[in-house]
Amino acid sequence: MKASGLGLRAASPDALADVAGPLPVTRRPSAAVAPAAVKPATVTPAVVAPAAMTPAVAAAVAGDLWLALHLAAPASGPLLERLAASAGEITPRVSLEPPDGVLLEVRGSLALFGGVEALCGKLRAACRREGVRVQLALAPTPLAALAGARAPRRRGEAPFRVLHRAELVGALAPLPLGVLRLPQETIERLAKMGVGEIGQALRLPRAGLARRFGPAMLAALDRLVGVEAEPRQNLSPRERYRARREPSYELTEQPAIIAFLAPMLAELEAFLRGRQGSVTALECRLHHREGAATRCRLRFAQPAFAAAAIGFLLGEQLAATALAAPVTACELVSSRLVPRQSASAALWQPGEHGGSLASEAPALVERLRARLGEDSVYGLCLVPEHRPEAAWRRVAALHMAANNRQQAAGSQKASAGAARPQPATRRPLWLLSTPLLLPALGAWPHYEGPLEKLAGPERIETGWWDGRDIERDYYVMRSRAAVQLWVYRQRRAPHEWFLHGVFG
């Protein structure tokens, strides 16, 4: 076939053979007639050859050989993932086709595993171990392999094995359309038109097909015969570390438990080093002879991998945990692995000229949290609000690395500029988390003696929309000990006085 003979082709019995033959590859894309540019009216009597493809696409799809594994019954997600994991021994390019399919790209693996039969035998053995019945099919495109595997097969019939693209369309032609998993409505409409097999559908005029059944149908047929590439998402295995050890005698003391955990942590570090990964959370379960296990959860401010650092945090956490009974077994379960971020050590120490934060800041936060609890360590941020108690918020996320500092400084400046209180209204540096009721003797409140008014009132009356509305008059007052206080009087009866802040 010549590269120039791509555009229109007369409808003839061997048009199909041509499509199945060598791939139509365009050397100069501008010279090719793209089917989309052709007016549908002019092509009604003709079959349009599949869309031209660029050399890169052709190279990407031509070499592949896909093996589809179709389960007799729809399977659960974990079972599919287990099958995919055992298929991962054959090739890294494994993808799932839920609910009942797994796809493998095996062109490169054929020689290694001793040919098609040996490879299929290995896969069948893996499926037998899982106790599932499967049908295997090989084809140069993922969809064709799936279609071949899904197609019902009579006893004694040869399995669907197409190793070369030239044979693909011929092999697909007798398969029922149902194996493509098209929408039920499309199948029914095609059946009414007398189209029940893939070969018949491929022979239909493309333009008409696209008009009646939408471009998705056309794209599916193009992917089936390999005219259009079908990118597959490779399944990356989800790994986590899990280990359980039983000591030869029951452990009662925390130091003994930590000493017993140390080799497991070293193993965890080796496991992570081998995979160049790190973990964001780790759970330590201490099993007792009876009753529920004691759980100790560690969440790291930054992904951790060093056994020493994890061991220190685990020790802190264990020291704060009360053991109900002696420990008969220890179990470590990690979170999913995340790629390890390695950074070079800084030349300067933090605090020296040019020194900046590296790992010290997350390490400090982790250490404080491990002993004092998650909620005891927090940051501050502004909330654009007029209610004084709602104008700020605690921030739990404190993983601020040195490199996003610039960005943070910019946004901080912007937010501070936007939400900063007007200079006319002074705000105290200290706020009481719950306002303190002050006794009022006469017109003014008392706090360790009578208070002297310095400024006010500043009326704050807002918040009606969420049911926590306030109506308050704020005053700056000085106590007898010369401390400046932020005091308010409720505007509603009973007009009580409260201490809300200290200017510090």
Partner: protein, 202 residues
């Protein structure tokens, strides 16, 4: 050689310790010229423990630090400012109004402020750490003083005025009393600071 120059040469002898000139430590300006003039070296030490004694919390001690905190958190590679066991909630809008970078503040609620303070000072992750401590033995403060050197951190410990009679290993020790329109600072211990009371308008 005149008597004066001979005297000057004699005074250069390293074994001689002269009060005011001894404090050649790097410092941060406090932001209050009157206070800078009174403090040894002209400001807060860049690394070291400063003990501040107040008759009660809120007499104006925090305002003394605010310009320093604003400057420290505004540095390009700024580290944290840790607030350990503060008596009330640090009020974010007021801090922001004083140009203190809120994303560098770390508030720690704890009943063991000395441990948390030592961690913060020694970690090297903090520019400054502020701790409100009820009771501290001199050896506890000594540990904090050593930690400031490890982490190159400026530490402030706030204590009650009743602690003035106890010995303290802190580098700088001052008491604060409220006055009209400001505070009055007295240096209880310093390496060559002013012996007068310093009036600071805030």
């Amino acid at each position: 050689m005149s008597v004066n120059s001979r005297l000057a040469r004699l005074l250069e002898h390293p074994a001689l310790w002269r009060g005011r000139n001894a404090a050649r430590v790097p410092t941060w300006s406090t932001g209050y010229p009157m206070l800078d003039a009174g403090l040894p070296g002209g400001g807060w030490p860049r690394a070291g423990l400063v003990e501040i004694l107040t008759p009660q919390p809120g007499v104006g001690e925090l305002h003394l630090l605010i310009p320093t905190l604003a400057r420290l958190t505004g540095l390009a590679p700024a580290r944290w400012v840790a607030w350990i066991a503060p008596p009330f909630e640090p009020y974010a809008p007021a801090l922001a109004a004083h140009d203190v970078a809120l994303d560098r503040q770390l508030v720690v609620r704890t009943r063991v402020p000395l441990w948390a303070m030592e961690q913060a000072l020694g970690s090297g992750a903090c520019e400054a750490a502020l701790a409100w401590v009820q009771a501290a033995r001199p050896r506890d403060l000594r540990r904090l003083q050593l930690a400031t050197g490890r982490g190159r951190t400026l530490g402030f410990v706030f204590r009650s005025l009743a602690a003035a009679r106890e010995a303290s290993p802190a580098e700088l020790r001052l008491s604060i009393a409220p006055r009209a329109g400001g505070v009055e600072v007295a240096l209880l211990k310093s390496r060559g600071g002013s012996r007068e009371r310093i009036a600071v308008a805030i």
